[in-house]
């Protein structure tokens, strides 16, 4: 059954990935798609910074700038950060809990294809009459006034990709609850798994409000309803609430898995168990819980009145406490450790001061009365880039370097990795630190230009230089990836030599069934415990037996494709006569595929014991 190791043609590989339900391959799909959108969003960021390098610049015009700025935010959050986080959860979480796959492999694949088709739909707006231009928040009064179909691409695209995300979240929750290996109790789960668990719970509760918000917005724009049109008795403030009830938990959905990655990296390269494991878990859960209590701090200037503002101000400040607990726990994990500065560790080390900076400006923003000054200025832009880039993106880079050998069986070059880090770290601080001051000096956010003579010239120029450095860093990273994929050299089970959790006990990349025998988990850092007792691998919890695996399926692709087609129909329904038929055809493809899936029983297949023993004898892939 070692077909995956054979050389195959491009067509076969493509078909394999189009139909795969294997969590490791889906992780790679997420990584490629998320990486692609990350580059796209980065390019948009560069255009923004070039336009703002000097006052009165005309690199892009005002309307185009708003489209670029909107797509930068939307792409980075929904199409880059989310899928990249999903890539690592998919790749690593099942291994960490000792599972052979996620609970619903089919839905896992469906989630990916929905995300991808939603993202493609959204980005096709560039070629079909203009991208959305009302900011990634798409506040209702402006998005209802926006001409053309840009905002429709936004509402439809995000609904499709949002379905995918919601399915992913539910899938991860069920997986973590049900699929843990024998002995893997909740309080023995690695921190990354815990973070994935809490983030998935947040997805479950946060995405429905977003879906409703943009669903109603879609109805207002395409089907003549008036939910948010104040002239017709609607209320656009409700849209703001919908958006932020989703929007605030969203940043925790992104940052918590990054926290998880840092916890693994820091503990691994300090050769120490995580300091205060239970308080780390508690802090994660508390952040997740409080994350739903603070959305209105994005709306302090909306005019909610002093009582609401005061309550949300204090609630927001409270989040600083569990976050502080985490920072100090990381510091004291390293304290007394034996720290090796590998590339992932550099990202983790660089993350701490960067994220603390973003965290403290977060507390400043929580101070409602003072926030009237910060709100919607470059101060806020600086703040959220410090937490999202300094936290999430650093985490994704750390994860990419750390888990690359586990996902692909090859190391990324350490020297190039360190160059990437230095360039990116410098560029990041150069870009965003000065933006705090630009905001306080009176520069609103989302401006396509600024006039000279306002004291804003120098700061903006510095910021642009920093952005160029970050771009250079990403190019080095790409180079690194290319070089590493050309290389032949394969790595063993535990390439970093200090691996602590289950994923490092199996080959890199793992066989498609992950664990030949489910491992017996005897404590936190299960693999480390066995290593310390001089054992080579995990103690199996079951005798060698047949393994039940799911079949590949092309149905997820078809379901998603149907919605993609239907979205065009829905959007052009009023403009062209072919709109309605296309809408119906698209839905028919989706529901037809679902019916096909429901009617045709698919029992999967078994890997037989004998084949597993065969694998053992060859012993080449270990």
């Amino acid at each position: 059954m070692s077909t995956y190791a054979q050389k195959r043609g491009f067509g076969a590989v493509l078909w394999d990935y189009l139909t795969t339900v294997d969590h490791k391959k889906i992780a790679i799909l997420y990584l490629i798609a998320g990486g692609f959108f990350f580059l796209l969003g980065g390019l948009e960021a560069l255009f923004i910074r070039i336009q703002l390098a000097v006052p009165n610049n005309d690199f892009v015009n005002a309307g185009l700038f708003n489209e670029i700025m909107t797509m930068h935010g939307t792409t980075m959050i929904f199409l880059a950060a989310m899928p990249l986080v999903f890539a690592f959860i998919n790749a690593i979480m099942p291994l960490q809990i000792g599972a052979r796959d996620v609970a619903f492999p089919f839905i896992n694949a469906l989630g990916f294809w929905l995300f991808l088709f939603g993202g493609l739909f959204l980005n096709l707006s560039w070629f079909l009459g203009g991208a959305p231009d009302a900011g990634w928040t798409s506040y209702a009064s402006l998005s209802l006034a926006s001409e053309g179909h840009g905002i429709d691409f936004y509402t439809l695209g995000l609904q499709i990709s949002g379905f995918g995300t919601l399915m992913g979240g539910i899938n991860f929750l069920v997986t973590i609850i049900n699929m843990r290996a024998p002995g893997m109790t909740y309080m023995r789960m690695p921190l990354f798994t815990w973070a994935s668990f809490v983030a998935s719970a947040l997805i479950l509760f946060a995405f429905p409000p977003l879906t409703i918000g943009i669903f109603l917005l879609m109805f207002d724009r395409l089907f003549g309803s008036n939910f948010f049109d104040s002239a017709a008795g609607g209320n656009s403030i409700i849209y703001e609430h919908f958006f932020w009830i989703f929007g605030h938990p969203e940043v925790y959905i992104l940052i918590l898995p990054a926290f998880g990655i840092f916890s693994e990296v820091i503990s691994t390269f300090s050769r120490k168990r995580l300091f205060g494991y239970s308080s780390m878990v508690f802090a994660l859960v508390l952040i997740g819980f409080l994350g739903f209590m603070v959305w209105a701090h994005h709306m302090f200037t909306t005019g909610m009145g002093p009582i609401a503002n005061a309550i949300f101000a204090v609630a927001t400040m409270a989040i600083a406490v569990p976050t502080g607990i985490k920072i100090f726990n990381w510091l004291f994990t390293m304290w007394g450790g034996s720290i090796k500065f590998t590339t992932p560790m550099l990202w983790a080390v660089g993350f701490i001061p960067s994220f603390v900076m973003g965290g403290v400006t977060g507390v400043m923003l929580a101070s409602a009365a003072a926030d009237y000054q910060y709100h919607d200025t470059y101060f806020v832009v600086a703040h959220f880039h410090y937490v999202i880039v300094g936290g999430v993106v650093f985490g994704l880079f750390a994860g990419a370097h750390f888990y690359w050998p586990k996902m692909f069986g090859k190391m990324l070059n350490e020297f190039l990795g360190k160059i990437t880090f230095v360039l990116f770290f410098t560029g990041f601080h150069l870009t965003f630190f000065v933006q705090h001051f630009l905001g306080l000096m009176g520069m609103p956010r989302r401006v396509f230009t600024f006039l000279p003579g306002q004291g804003l010239d120098t700061g903006n120029f510095i910021s642009t230089i920093g952005a160029l450095l970050m771009a250079a860093a990403v190019i080095v990273l790409l180079l690194n990836i290319v070089i590493s994929s050309v290389k032949k050299q394969k790595v063993g089970n535990d390439p970093w030599e200090d691996g602590r959790t289950l994923e490092w006990a199996i080959p890199s990349p793992p066989p498609f069934y992950n664990f030949k025998q489910l491992p017996l988990v005897r404590g936190l850092d299960a693999y480390w415990l066995e290593k310390m007792e001089g054992k080579k691998g995990m103690v199996p919890a079951e005798p060698l037996g047949d393994i039940h695996m799911p079949n590949s399926s092309f149905v997820p692709f078809m379901i998603s494709l149907g919605l993609f087609i239907a979205a065009f129909g829905a959007m052009y329904r009023a403009d062209y006569s072919w709109g309605l038929p296309v809408f119906i055809i698209g839905l028919a493809v989706t529901f037809g595929s679902m019916a096909f899936r429901s009617i045709k029983d698919d029992h999967g297949f078994h890997i037989h014991k004998e084949d597993l023993i065969d694998d053992n004898k060859k012993g080449v892939k270990a």
């Binding site: 900011g135 006034a145 050769r271 406490v321 007394g336 400043m364 009365a369 200025t377 956010r445 401006v447």
Partner: protein, 356 residues
């Protein structure tokens, strides 16, 4: 020891204030507060920043020690420490205390800024004793209505210094946000409700800023969001009263003085007056006030909020508004004008003055 800690905090405080106060222009920067609201906000900012710099220092010190002392030197396996309840309690309790220190003044200021009770109290004439300004935000321009005085102006807000001025904010198209950074934080102009707050303009600081503050729209509102600037003339109460009287005295559109201006006025009456009023009375309904009121146009500080105030720029603006403010509502509403007609219009408009 305690005193030392206190001094250290004070020092951070002072340094922060100095560093931050060095930033930006006095007519624009929130770091050069020129009024009660901005001052309170600045103090909150300094308080928060000082606490936060303290936190950053502690983290940095531990961080640097860790990175230097605990680098890997040999192959030993360090002791696997589970945690420390004492330490964990310390770094839970101290942040809570620090946050409380910040939370109390935050809540107090939040309520203070929202106290608009004086503007709700009407006297016998049905007016308020305090100065009230209705701010109506429109796609890329601002209207300022003084309901007590019965006058309307646009783009340049005129206010007296040294007293609280109360604002009613609303929008007539999409959401905007009213922000005068040097004088106080922003509040949104919503489409569905009226938001209220107050600001105070400090007389001395106003002088330092040349009595002219920059105001901005802080909420994305379309292509020209970045250009939706306004200006605030902050003058003494006497000057303000005089300005109000001068404005009120304009009952009829001012007669043009020169031939060219007269020609301009004719064109204006044919092509422009449908949207632009040249009398300050607030008798027409809001919906009819589709463009900035131009009564005192000749005394304004900018053309269209962003261009230098001179005839040359005015001509450019009338010729092709789209080039200067993309997406504005004026483009294409008055047909093609010849250069001479534009000259005449500019001559007429630049002479629209109420003060002598």
């Amino acid at each position: 020891m305690k005193r030392l800690a206190k001094w250290r905090l004070l020092t951070i405080f002072a340094i922060m204030a100095l560093v931050l106060a060095g930033c930006g222009e006095p007519y624009l920067s929130a770091l050069k507060p020129a009024g009660e609201v901005a001052k309170t906000q600045f103090n909150l900012m300094i308080l928060a920043t000082s606490i936060m710099v303290g936190v950053i220092l502690v983290v940095t010190v531990i961080f640097v020690i860790v990175l230097i002392r605990f680098r890997r030197k040999d192959d030993r396996i360090p002791k696997q420490v589970e945690g420390s309840h004492k330490l964990e309690i310390i770094w839970t309790v101290i942040p809570i205390i620090l946050l409380l220190i910040l939370a109390v003044p935050t809540v107090a200021a939040t309520f203070n800024f929202a106290d608009v009770s004086p503007m709700e109290k009407k006297n016998k004439e049905g007016k308020t004793d305090v100065l009230v300004v209705n701010v109506r935000a429109n796609l890329y321009w601002w209207e300022f209505e003084y309901p007590n005085e019965g006058i309307i102006t646009s783009q340049d807000l005129v206010v007296p210094t040294g007293e609280r001025v109360y604002f009613n904010l609303k929008s007539s198209d999409v959401k905007h946000s009213f922000w005068i950074p040097a004088v106080g934080g922003k509040l949104d102009n919503n489409t569905e409700n009226i938001n209220k707050f107050w600001l105070e303009f400090d007389p001395e600081k106003s002088n330092e800023a040349g009595n002219l503050f920059y105001g901005k729209c802080a909420e994305l509102c379309g292509p020209s969001h970045a250009l939706m600037d306004f200006k605030v003339k902050a003058v003494s109460r006497e000057e303000f009263d005089k300005w109000v009287k001068d404005m009120q005295s304009v009952k009829e559109p001012e007669k043009a003085q020169t031939d060219l201006a007269r020609e301009g006025q004719e064109i204006f009456n044919k092509s422009c007056i449908g949207c632009h009023a040249v009398t300050p009375a607030n008798t027409t309904p809001e919906a009819a006030r589709q463009a900035p009121n131009l009564t005192n146009f000749g005394e304004r500080s900018r053309i269209a909020g962003v261009l230098e105030h001179n005839k040359e720029e005015l001509r450019n603006w009338i010729k092709d508004p789209e080039a200067y403010k993309p997406g504005n509502k004026m483009t294409g509403t008055y047909g093609q004008l010849t250069d001479h007609q534009i000259d005449a219009l500019a001559e007429y408009l630049m002479n629209l003055k109420v003060q002598d």
